[in-house]
């Protein structure tokens, strides 16, 4: 029982990091209907920004954290401007966006390898490794902080989407971009906001990921799993992305804990395939019927 609870908490912690990443995929998908595979590169840069903020600039944690998020905020917007905007203007098919995203992802990853180097780097210890004892449970301090900050960030995001004018414009655009443009909504600004928000959260996720594991140029490959979580929850749905991430995080930790850590990565793809077979729109995705 103790082990079960311990695993559950681990799962929640990693699941909440996935959620920070997954909402980035989902936000972009909800407006532009394509899977932004460059997002992994942005998350990776976030991990590096945070790392250098702490080590080179010797910033306090909160500032390094902010630096990472603001940095990825701008990177995400830059990627949109360079790799997607020209395609948007030409109304290119979704595949061109995906290929362009793949190009951006290759570019970002190798830019880091070429300038910073391929080595693994370990974050300095910000939070004490001593766990918080809660009866028989030992909760990692970092896990707890990750979970709390992630939960707060995601709540703020959902409040932003629900309460602000810009957030409402995003919601409207996710139903029908063309109609929104006709109604006078500035879709370009909506799209930039979506990329900015996704980028900001990617920075937070990158820092947490780096703190929990290490920092290296191929982190982006791991973020594919958060993409799977987004599909699992239903591409384009924010609550779905969060739910999918938490479930995936928990399943992964349990598989690693009770079966074998070798199957941990495989299980994510098995889930992906199972979801696509049973219900391609995921748990909370919108179901649309094609009109002939």
């Amino acid at each position: 029982m103790v082990q079960f609870l311990q695993q559950l908490i681990n799962g929640l912690s990693i699941g909440s990091v996935y959620a920070l990443m997954a909402v980035g995929y989902s936000l972009v998908y909800s407006i532009m209907n394509f899977s932004n595979f460059a997002h992994g590169g942005v998350i990776m840069l976030g991990a590096y920004f945070g790392f250098f903020g702490l080590t080179l600039l010797k910033l306090p944690f909160a500032l390094a954290f902010l630096l990472a998020s603001i940095g990825t905020f701008f990177v995400a917007i830059l990627v949109e401007r360079i790799a997607y905007k020209p395609l948007r203007e030409r109304r290119a098919p979704f595949l061109y966006f995906i290929i362009s995203a793949m190009g951006a992802s290759i570019l970002l990853e190798n830019l880091v390898i070429a300038t910073i180097g391929p080595t693994f780097r370990t974050y300095p210890e910000v939070f004490s490794k001593a766990p918080i004892e809660l009866g028989p449970l030992a909760i990692g301090r970092l896990d707890l902080i990750i979970f709390v900050i992630s939960a707060v960030s995601l709540t703020l995001l959902i409040l932003f989407i629900d309460k602000t004018k810009l957030g409402k414009a995003i919601q409207a655009a996710s139903y029908n971009v063309k109609a929104c443009a006709l109604m006078g909504v500035n879709t370009d600004r909506v799209i930039l906001t979506v990329f900015g928000l996704g980028g900001f959260l990617a920075g937070i996720a990158g820092v947490f990921f780096g703190m929990k594991y290490t920092v290296y140029p191929q982190i982006g490959n791991i973020t594919t799993k958060s993409f799977i979580a987004a599909v699992f929850g239903g591409l384009g749905s924010l609550p779905g992305a969060v739910l999918g991430s938490i479930i995936l995080g928990i399943i992964e930790t349990f598989v690693a804990g009770y079966l074998s850590s070798q199957f941990r990565d495989l299980i994510a793809f098995v889930i992906l395939i199972a979801v696509l077979v049973v219900r391609p729109t995921g748990i909370m995705g919108k179901v649309t019927e094609d009109k002939a």
Binding site: G103, I106, N110, L235, V270, I273
Partner: protein, 310 residues
Amino acid sequence: MDWTYIQGILMLAGINMIAVLGLSLLTGFTGLFSFGHAGFMAIGAYVGAWISASPTSTPAGLGLPFVLAIVGGGVAAGAVSYFIGRISLNLKGDYFCIATLGFGEAIRLIFNNVNRFGGARGWPGVPGKSTFLAILVADVVAVLFLANLVKSRHGRNMIAVREEELAAQIAGIDVFRYKMLSLIISAVYAGVAGVFFAHYMTFIQPKMFSLTKSTELTIIVIFGGLGSISGSVLGALVLTALPEILRTFEMWRLVFYGAAVILIMVSRPKGLMGGMELTPSGIRKMVAERNALREAKARLLAEAQGGEEE
């Protein structure tokens, strides 16, 4: 640059070309995009290695001739693609892409865990049987097969599926069947490419067949031009050679590569050939289309000026 070096690059390009030609049928002619074809290459590579590797090496193989390895690798990849197709071909657009991505990665991770085949450490004892001549012959066969296919009713039905799925259905085309046929053929091509790859490298490892490899294949197809066989051939030659030539820049070559991909998408998404073929009949067709456009414009202009005709 000596001949062996150039030959090496050409062989690698020739191997890539087989996989690219297969993907070209699926993507360029049938309109389905896959991010999992490296998985089919992996199946071909591993099954091929198992058939031809010596029984005394570790991991042990069957020690059978190379030809059987080629057949076995292709058939195995085709068979797996059939099951994948049954599950995923009914999915719409983006979701088919995502499914292929999932299958491709799952196949790689499965090989990672199969210790019989060397697991993540890989398989070092594959005999080096991919000769320059063998690859050349395979490429010629691959091109001829594809060229004859797309010029038949079967190929035209696939193109119709790419152009307008619903209209294809209404024109009596069994869309699912032709999608499946296209997927299986493309997987067999990828499998055969995998066999040649394994017998060229003489060492294979699951991580050689990652999502990056799948993406690379799709990028080559698009770079060459969707719906063009000659484009795929040129694309495979150029994009395999380019990173090799840029090898002097080592670290920066993949940065350029990524930037080039974005640039191509943003500026000339039709690719090198853009649906045209670099063959006598292809050029004739292109000229005829241009002339027809000019004539049609002239005719409409004349009609507009001269009132009713017809």
